[in-house]
């Protein structure tokens, strides 16, 4: 079967909207509804965060949603069931974001087999080092038709950016600041210079994340990349308005 994400990047080259949400939040069974509603409202790509209590790359908003989801009784087994359920109708590309230990404890082979079987198109594992990926995971992911996305940050060297570009099998996740998710909003001159530097170095599609929250930041980010990722701001909206607020929010971001 074709990888839905690869197909997306082949056909759409601009204004790609990737929405991140934490599975099992606000309510444990919201996962399916959120995926369907996001696709319906016009998200191009959906990144499903696997709740974890030790998320080194994530700020307070995403951490709190993860803790709440764990309290709600989240398990990976349940997540794969929910993705299977959503896939009955949804055709939007789906990416899972989690941490190495979650894969290790579930069993890496079993994890990727479940991903492929339930209809996951790609993975983001921010704490998986590139050398370990290349040695132990690359072939396995490819075998299950799962793309893999690396994060690039402002302090990443040109040499390393090129290396990540060649290793990446999905898009490159351009972290807009050297902080954790949800740290600040708005885009500075300095960040624009950084986005331009990256564009000159890579050939993979790129999406900008961290600090994207509304139409203004989304539009600016899309000037320098194929699209952008919204996470913390979307979760904040969900906390306030629940799934009923999704359509209005996506429309406001699209403008």
């Amino acid at each position: 079967m074709n990888n839905r994400m690869t197909a997306l990047f082949e056909t759409k080259k601009e204004n790609i909207l990737n929405i991140y949400f934490t599975a099992g939040y606000p309510n444990i069974d919201d996962t399916v509804t959120i995926i369907k509603q996001l696709e319906h409202s016009g998200a191009d790509l959906i990144e499903v965060g696997i709740p974890y209590s030790d998320p080194l790359a994530d700020g307070p908003t995403i951490q709190e949603s993860g803790t709440a989801a764990l309290k709600n009784g989240f398990t990976l087994k349940l997540l794969f069931e929910q993705i299977r359920e959503a896939r009955k109708t949804a055709n939007v590309p789906l990416i899972l974001m989690g941490y190495v230990n979650q894969l290790m404890q579930f069993g890496v082979e079993k994890f990727v087999a479940q991903c492929a079987d339930s209809g996951v198109d790609g993975l983001i594992i921010p704490d998986l080092p590139p050398n370990v990926f290349e040695k132990e995971y690359k072939e396995l992911f490819a075998k299950h038709n799962l793309s893999f996305t690396f994060l690039v940050t402002p302090n990443t060297s040109d040499e390393r950016i090129k290396m990540l570009d060649s290793l990446s099998t999905g898009f490159l996740y351009i972290v807009s600041s050297a902080a954790i998710t949800g740290a600040k909003s708005g885009i500075s001159e300095e960040q624009i210079a950084y986005f331009k530097r990256i564009s000159s170095l890579i050939s993979s599609p790129k999406l900008i994340g961290f600090g994207i929250s509304d139409n203004e930041t989304f539009t600016t980010a899309c000037t320098y990349a194929e699209g952008a990722i919204i996470g913390s701001a979307f979760i904040k909206m969900l906390s306030k308005e629940g799934v009923a607020g999704i359509d209005g929010y996506i429309q406001s971001v699209r403008g």
Partner: protein, 405 residues
Amino acid sequence: MAMVNAANMPDVNGYFGEYGGSFVPPQLQVILDEITAEYLKTKDDPEFQKEMAYYQKHYVGRPSPVFFCERLTAKIGGAKIYLKREDLNHTGAHKINHCIGEALLAKRLGKTKIIAETGAGQHGVALATVAALLGLECEIHMGEVDIAKEHPNVVRMQILGATVVPVTHGLKTLKEAVDSAFEAYLKDPVTQLYAIGSVVGPHPFPMMVRDFQQIIGEEAKVQFEELTGTLPDNIVACVGGGSNAMGLFTAFLNDESVAIYGVEPAGHGVEIAGKHAATITKGTPGMIHGFKCYMLQDENGEPSPVHSVASGLDYPGVGPQHSYLHDLKRVNYTHIDDTDAIDAFFELSRSEGIIPAIESSHAVAFAMKLAKELPSDQTILVNLSGRGDKDIDFVVENFGKKYGI
């Protein structure tokens, strides 16, 4: 017995066997690579070594003595018990050994602030102390539960000019304090240095902290030979993250005649999940705080709740080198519960006039058990990693009655 070439640990990527490494988001990896490069360049620099030696001697008060516990040994009957007196260091524990190294490194890197977590407050106090000494800002993250339990150390940090940030999520103890400190660090890794409190975390921290601590074993080896003419038959240290233990063990890893014991906190009992922190005894390999080690976790890879009467030991992970030394069977990892640790706390206080930290009391308790089983020509050297002043209110309030207080 498997012999260990400690000089080869870790490898260039920070692995001790399959443990250790660095599993962190890329923005942090860049910073860690810088710290590694600077540390490797610095550690053998004669200027740096001279500075370290100066502060160790004139500020910390090294070498700390090795002391023979005559009355305790007579009382127990069996092997002779000796203590390496890290409790006599300035600030009252071994933590200052690596804090001086980390703070000097921070200055070399041009950082103006050091940031860290603390459990019992020993690392926090030691770091706040060297920050004052070297003119650096200092921010310490500490769980609310530990803040209440270790009040004197909180006040000490504040008197020394450090900012103590209370951590209010989760179990509000050491694991959450690490999360919180890492988060604060990531907000500004350029002007700050994370000065981790044990031989844990991503590469290069387990290597760096061990290197700064190994002076304990190096001194003890010479001192013990001066006292007895030979090496100790057994050496013992408590293991939470494992910094004082690596400090003592490293110099003895290649001495085949020396049996090595790491004592984990059994809390209310290792069979009761969530009520102990015996990571190697009951854990499985996993990833926590950016490194691979034995850890206590559930089937989703979530770190388990942990408990120990000693705040400095209740961590669901353990140093990667300990994890490897366990697999190699070079070190015997065992455990002591809360009750026996408190017994040892009073026993050492009353038979030798030395009040040990509750953490170190775990090592003393195991040494007492081991001594009983061994003949009187055997020797046991215990790392007395810290003094118990910080624990007296907590101990008397919770256990005083049993001991007539």
